[in-house]
């Protein structure tokens, strides 16, 4: 007998005879959060930053003023081509190692934990939201949902090869519980909240 068959047989034998019902998730969705307000507060508290912008031109201005544009800046958003390179999605992922800033878009954000849902079709490359020194993500203000239950309602049956919730910059507290931003991934996360 293969290990698979042996394991499954033993499990079948040992699991309870009756199946317990799955609980209803609906009551968990009740909320009266001010979603935008909550989103901003939580993002700040976990080391992220936000900028409210009304269009892509304002994002371009912000990047020019706040980042070293002599270094490598990459994006998947055609609207930002003035300030960032668009032609890298077929490159070897290792070559993104020297990216100073990568700008992508999120499908939506979650107020209770400030996480942003990004999938591979928005990333250009899967490693792009992890490897740069700094990361910036744009999201529409009316695409912020209250809680994770609403988030999965939004995701529904969405197809993706890879998707991730990103909440703030990469961080660690493994040395005596002192919080340090920028463990392996981005040292900073700027969220552009768009009208």
């Amino acid at each position: 007998m293969s290990s698979k068959e042996a394991i499954l047989q033993k499990i079948k034998q040992n699991q309870p005879k009756e199946v317990n019902e799955l609980p209803n998730l609906e009551p968990l969705k009740e909320t009266n959060l001010d979603v935008l307000d909550q989103y901003k507060t939580v993002l700040k508290s976990i080391g992220g930053d936000f900028v409210e912008v009304s269009n892509y031109v304002e994002i371009i201005d912000f990047v020019r003023q706040n980042f070293d544009t002599n270094k490598r800046i990459l994006t998947t958003l055609t609207e930002l081509s003035e300030v960032a390179n668009l032609d890298w999605s077929d490159d070897d992922p290792h070559s993104l190692e020297d990216a100073e800033l990568i700008l992508v878009k999120a499908h939506f954000g979650v107020a209770e934990n400030s996480a942003l849902w990004v999938t591979d079709d928005l990333m250009g490359q899967r490693v792009s939201t992890f490897i740069p020194q700094y990361l910036a993500i744009a999201v529409n203000k009316n695409d912020i949902v209250a809680k994770m239950h609403h988030a999965y309602d939004r995701i529904g049956n969405q197809e993706y090869g890879f998707g991730t919730f990103i909440a703030g910059p990469s961080k660690t507290a493994d040395i005596e519980q002192s919080l340090v931003l920028g463990a392996h991934g981005a040292r900073g996360l700027t969220v552009f909240l768009m009208d």
Binding site: S3, K10, L28, M148, D153, T172, E176, A183, G185
Partner: protein, 464 residues
């Protein structure tokens, strides 16, 4: 892992450095308080726990079908699925994947399952270089120690220790104890590793039967750096990591980080569904005693555990004895339930390493009856004859004394006399109860004596 000494002996050694023990205790309590603050911000916290617990109950009662469903969906997504009955088989599978790809170096992100299976040693013996990439794991790996906590692997170390370790292995400045500086050095060291490894291994936090995807949660992004830069991604999971549907992730992702560190969610909650084009994802589904535990009705619920570590952070025994004293990959209250299932003889001491105060049960996000299970293990272990020696004598004596009123009376009188007049006889190493405790003041008379005199009168008074 060393296991020639018992929990209490190891704890005794740990307790010699009083200052360090106090510091350890306070650090973990600080994490526990962060968890409280975070939980209290969610008005529906208790409903959330109850819901998570019920989802896991459903999983445990239907796990056979969910596993079959998960495998089929994962395969449809292009993921290669393997099954391992035990630790040895798990290690052989991982090794064979590496061999097939001619990989001599692998980067690994945190996985307690591979600790349980002693994978690093197995691969190292076969000439494969394994680098742990979670900062805490890397620190203990350089020191050739196992992690002492499932979420905070280096929680037992001070920044001076880390500084010394990095000076020795990474060439950092001697005596520089700034966490920012030390983290930055590790960042450079590990970036090199990520950029040069062809294979990456990660753990699995949740696997979804409905979609065949799996989720890995980290704050550092190390699992993602490894997996997205490598050609081969191997993900190892105990079969209990399964959940029914994608939407159930919403419940567990709300609970996990809040219970672990007080964060509203981990920085990255990554959903791996399909491999990149031309690359491979392998999943190894491991039993290693889990199906036996599933059949132990009293201990079945321990398989609901989502490895948040909250029970350790709150446990007064863990906080004052340190993770290494549990001589098991998973330490603390939940580890003490899981370990005897794997090896009763070797781990018979662990269910006794608890005050049964119930604090663990109160914080557990999936409502495992942790302290009740510890109590039940004690009974099983005594019945099976696996009790630690000193405890056996004490318990047998106690049983005789409690069963016999006259002996009980005499024993009480003798005890009180001894404690008062021969304190050296009580406060010695053979009396396990005295270890780490101050003995109480001795009462003038026993409760029995007091009751004989006043009991009846009191009773009459109450009846009036």
């Amino acid at each position: 892992m060393k296991n020639n000494i018992s929990h209490s002996e190891a704890a005794e050694i740990f307790n010699k450095d009083v200052e360090r023990v106090n510091w350890h205790d306070e650090t973990l309590w600080f994490v526990r308080e962060k968890r409280d603050r975070s939980a209290h911000q969610i008005p529906e916290w208790e409903l959330l726990r109850e819901t998570a617990s019920q989802i896991k109950l459903n999983v445990l009662s239907n796990i056979h079908d969910y596993l079959v469903e998960f495998e089929a969906n994962a395969q449809k997504n292009g993921i290669i699925v393997h099954w391992a009955a035990n630790a040895e088989e798990h290690n052989v599978i991982v090794h064979s994947i590496l061999e097939k790809h001619n990989v001599k170096q692998m980067v690994k992100s945190k996985s307690m399952l591979t600790e349980e299976c002693h994978l690093n040693d197995y691969l190292t013996e076969r000439g494969i270089d394994v680098i742990d990439s979670d900062l805490g794991e890397r620190i203990v790996q350089l020191r050739k120690e196992p992690p002492s906590h499932i979420v905070l692997p280096a929680i037992h170390l001070k920044k001076e220790d880390v500084s010394e370790t990095f000076y020795e292995h990474l060439g950092t400045e001697k005596g520089n104890i700034d966490p920012q500086y030390l983290t930055e050095s590790a960042r450079h060291h590990l970036r090199d590793i990520f950029l040069t490894r062809k294979a990456a291994l990660t753990g699995v936090n949740f696997a979804v039967a409905e979609t065949g995807e799996f989720v890995v949660c980290t704050n550092e992004g190390n699992a993602d750096m490894g997996a997205h830069l490598a050609d081969v991604h191997i993900a190892c999971m105990g079969f209990e990591k399964l959940i029914p549907q994608r939407k159930h992730l919403g419940v567990f992702l709300r609970l996990l980080a809040r219970s672990a560190t007080g964060q509203p969610i981990t920085t990255f909650s990554s959903h791996f569904k399909k491999p990149r084009e031309g690359k491979e994802i392998h999943i190894v589904i491991v039993d290693n005693g889990r199906s036996v535990q599933l059949g132990r009705e009293d201990f079945r619920n321990s398989l609901k555990c989502i490895r948040c570590g909250a029970c350790m952070n709150t446990c007064p025994v863990y906080r004052r004895s340190g993770g290494h004293s549990y001589h098991n990959a998973v330490a603390g209250p939940i580890g003490s339930i899981l370990a005897p299932n794997l090896d009763m003889k070797k781990n018979a001491d662990l269910p006794f390493a608890s005050t049964l105060c119930g604090s663990c049960t109160n914080v557990c996000p999936v409502k495992i009856d942790i302290h009740d299970q510890l109590y039940k293990w004690r009974q099983v272990l005594v019945q099976e004859g696996y009790t630690p020696k000193v405890k056996t004598i004490a318990m047998k004596t106690m049983a005789t004394v409690l069963a016999n009123p006259m002996v009980f009376d005499i024993a009480g009188k003798t005890g009180r006399f001894a404690m008062k007049n021969l304190s050296g006889l009580v406060n010695n190493k053979l009396n396990k109860w005295y270890d780490q405790r101050e003995m109480p003041e001795v009462p003038e008379e026993s409760f029995r004596e007091w009751y004989k005199k006043n009991g009846k009168a009191t009773k009459r008074k109450n009846d009036e």
